[in-house]
Amino acid sequence: MGPLIPNGIIPIEWDSIIAILIGIVFGFVLEASGFSSSRKLAGVFYGYDFAVLKVFFTAALVAVIGIYYMDYLGYLDVTQLYVHPTYLWGAIIGGIIMGAGFVAGGFCPGTSLCAVAIGKIDAFVYVGGILIGVFIFSELFPLLEPIYNGYYYGNITLQDSFGVNPYWFVFIFSIIAIVAFVISDMVRKKQKKVFY
């Protein structure tokens, strides 16, 4: 049955309208969870506020459990879903650069847009920086292309990489997340409180 639009159950003309509606909920949830505040986001790296860890891992878990459960019940065909492709060194090097940008600027692209929507000037500057970063990448593309297109493993999942039943990953992932939540609360109690 699902996904609905690729299978023609909802006509493709609705695609852009659905995009806006999904975006509205996306923005609302991020902002209401406090992701428009760079000082709250950065807390995860200094141990004074773990909202990022909690929201991020709860969301990933709910989504992955939901997707595999709907697949099990036959409402959604997991093999039809778009799997983010694996370019090994692109993912690692890009991720490292993004991590440095995250802790330096205190936002990621989605959260910076939330902050732009409520008038944070630092977020406007951050978004400007992202545009410059994309521009630099595009201009240096011939130089960076080997990383961008190389070390390609296809649209693989953990199941393909390790040859283990996906339900085991969901289970292990849930345990890791719960342990991380408990530890994060213990760490936060020891840290000096930061007010923002």
Binding site: V55, A91, M98, I130, V134
Partner: protein, 177 residues
């Protein structure tokens, strides 16, 4: 506020598990409807492509990266992620408006100046923009939506982002704590 009153954060946000739960339901719903996940940096890439194309069409066409996203019949802004991002701005504006959080300001730690905050915001943005192109997605598109379908690349990107942010956190501590 009286001095003996316990100091509290000014803003009250949702419980993170509640926010995360709704966010997860939204990702599930997005996959159920469209077969793909969410994204945020994609719209910024489209903006850069369309800006470069309008300033210098030849340059955009000759560049191997821009030209991937240029279609003669369609604007590079006519993509799912651009519409989703417009929605994101609207949604965040509604939430901020309902809670009285909308105002023009530079948010920074009292220990640093606005100027320093803005310089680091710009530098951080440049790095994130560059990294998001190399990894083909940011925290939403690559890490979160990737993890939702157990993508190996999504997990690697997530580990790289958070690992590197923790590794560099020491050098930027003055900005935050």
């Amino acid at each position: 506020m009286t001095k003996d009153k316990k100091q509290k954060n000014r803003h009250v946000y949702w419980n993170p598990y509640f926010g995360g739960f709704l966010f997860g339901i939204l990702i599930l719903f997005t996959f159920f409807l469209t077969g793909r996940g969410l994204g945020a940096s994609g719209a910024m890439k489209s903006s850069v492509v369309s800006m470069v194309e309008s300033i210098s069409p030849e340059h955009a066409e000759n560049n191997a990266y821009y030209s991937k996203f240029i279609d003669k019949d369609e604007s590079p802004m006519n993509t799912w992620l651009v519409f989703e991002t417009l929605g994101l701005l609207i949604g965040a504006f509604i939430s901020g408006g309902l809670s009285g959080r909308i105002s023009w300001r530079v948010q920074h730690s009292p220990k640093i100046t606005s100027k320093r905050r803005l310089i680091f915001a710009l530098g951080g943005g440049v790095l994130f923009g560059l990294g998001a192109q190399i990894a083909r997605g940011c925290t939403s598109g690559a890490a979160l939506s990737g993890m939702a379908v157990l993508s190996t690349g999504g997990f690697i990107t997530m580990l790289a982002i958070f690992g590197s942010a923790y590794a560099f956190a020491y050098f930027f501590r003055k900005n935050w704590i």
